[in-house]
Amino acid sequence: MSTRKLKNMAFNIFAIVSFIIIIIPLLHIITMVTLNGIRALSVELIFSLPTPPGKGGGGIANAIQGTIILVILTMLISFPIGFFAGVYLAEYGRGTTAEIIRNLTNVLSGIPSIVAGIFGYTIIVVYFGFSAVAGAVALSLLAIPYIVRTTEEALKAVPREIREAGLALGIPEWKVTLYIVVGAARPRIIAGSLLAMARIIGEAAPLLFTAFGNPYLARSIFEPVDALPLLIFNYALSPYKDWHAKAWGAAFILMIIVLSINLLVRYYTRRRT
């Protein structure tokens, strides 16, 4: 065989092996989380509070509640900001101001998640103490650039004719934008926001010194809360066997949520196009 063919064959093998190299750990993680997770899963795990280490029993209801609170708060903060900023960039986004906004959105999307945690700490925790709100502010830093970009891209994908048809009917520009263009772009905006949500559900680093963690149920959003990823981090590094089991249970729940959001969004967006 000529060297050219040999090279080609080596390259083909390299490509196939690359794929296998990345797929094996994925399958292994999914299997390991599923097996260990199902073993830990029970009604008690989901609905009861943690017990002291070593005592057995108990659950992660505090973390589930915390994650729900954090996700809702984060979306309430970041969706309006991200959405309107995205509308601005798509509809009026020319000139220096737009360029600055676009570049800084880019910068924001690149910040490490732990730095977002520091931000939540210095602007909220320092003054008001650890709370769900501080956690949500930190998470918003990660969600906002994602939503800005999704909205901008979704609006830009709407054909110009639709806009012009609206304007030709004498509808004011802002109504055309808000009802017709956004209406047409809605599926993509929702899809992008769901993906942003899936991403923040799994983030623990920004919560370490903002939401802090809480072994009880929180009674208000101004109290510290736990979260599934935060609990996994803390329990995994503890020396207790039953905490490890609960970490796997939490990881299983978290993985199911995150992967199903991703798969559903994919399924629906692909079917539409």
Binding site: F11, L104, I114, A204
Partner: protein, 298 residues
């Protein structure tokens, strides 16, 4: 002047756009002002000092900067060829019927929360590295990279985790770009008798270099800032060494571990200083990426 809804609406959107600008500005300001005390006390030694000791009240960031750049760079060096290989597999080799599905599977990796990967790292990868990989690497211990012994908590494990996390990000971008290479260019080359390797080497990769560069920058940024998965497996010891089998520490990891323990003002200020360094590094990477894309895009 008549009140105009159009102008009001535009004003609202501008305000939210500027809000994003002020958030980033505020973030930078907060990092700067809160780390100012540490920067004032240590000066340039904050960046170049090798000692990080809360007990002696001395804080130097060098081992963490080293750890961050070391892990992210090595992970990137492996992830680049790996992602190109996978992208080629997905676009050229995989049978059409399963292509979509395989692509989705690879992209799902990027969706797995980093703590879950960390959890797997602690309970599977650590023992795996300690028992098997260490043995496999022992004949190469004369190379500084593979010198020493490991408990499993080490640079190598952290780098493996990072490779796994950043490869799908790069792959997605490369694959997308590879699909947009005009078929006639490739076919012309095949018609001349070129092999697949030659087509990819001389057509696909040069044609998509902008996208590949973007993927590299994005992946590098992610690797530099990755916190928990790395914190859980790297061993958490400040260590400037070439040995992959030694424990290490990264900027993000030390902030995650020590922030809540820090009670003294100088200690907290120093930790926020590490956050500032991390922010600046990722800002520079981002900037270089943007400039590179602009140049390559021409």
């Amino acid at each position: 002047m008549k009140f105009s809804f159009d102008k009001a609406f535009k004003a609202i959107t501008v305000i939210f756009g500027l809000l994003v600008v002020s958030i980033v500005t505020l973030l930078f300001y907060e990092l700067l002002i809160n780390s100012f005390y540490a920067l004032k006390v240590f000066g340039i030694n904050f960046f170049l000092g090798r000692v990080w000791s809360p007990i002696k009240n001395v804080f130097g960031a060098l081992p963490f900067i080293y750890g961050t750049l070391f892990t992210a760079t090595l992970a990137l060096l492996v992830a680049i060829p790996l992602s190109i290989g996978i992208a080629v597999f997905l676009t050229e080799i995989a049978p059409k019927s399963v292509k979509e599905m395989l692509t989705t599977i690879v992209e799902l990796i990027a969706a797995i929360p980093s703590v879950v990967i960390g959890l797997w790292g602690i309970f599977f990868l650590i023992p795996f590295v300690r028992i098997y990989l260490q043995k496999a690497l022992s004949p190469f211990s004369f190379i500084p990279l593979f010198a020493g012994e490991t408990s499993g908590f080490c640079y190598l494990t952290a780098i493996l985790v990072l490779i796994f996390m950043i490869t799908p990000i790069m792959t997605a971008i490369c694959k997308e770009a590879f699909e947009h290479v005009p078929a006639d260019l490739k076919e012309a080359m095949y018609a001349l008798g070129a092999t697949r390797y030659e087509v990819i080497r001389h057509i696909t990769i040069p044609y998509t270099r902008t996208a590949i560069a973007a993927g590299i920058i994005l992946a590098y940024g992610r690797a530099l800032g990755e916190t928990l998965a790395v914190t859980m497996v790297i061993g958490n010891r400040p260590n400037i060494t070439l040995s992959l089998l030694s424990p290490g520490y990264t900027l993000a990891a030390v902030i995650a571990n020590e922030f809540l323990e820090a009670t003294k003002r100088l200690y907290i200020s120093s930790l926020i200083g590490l956050g500032l360094i991390l922010f600046i590094i990722s800002f520079i990477v981002n900037l270089v990426g943007t400039l590179l894309l602009k140049r390559l895009g021409k």
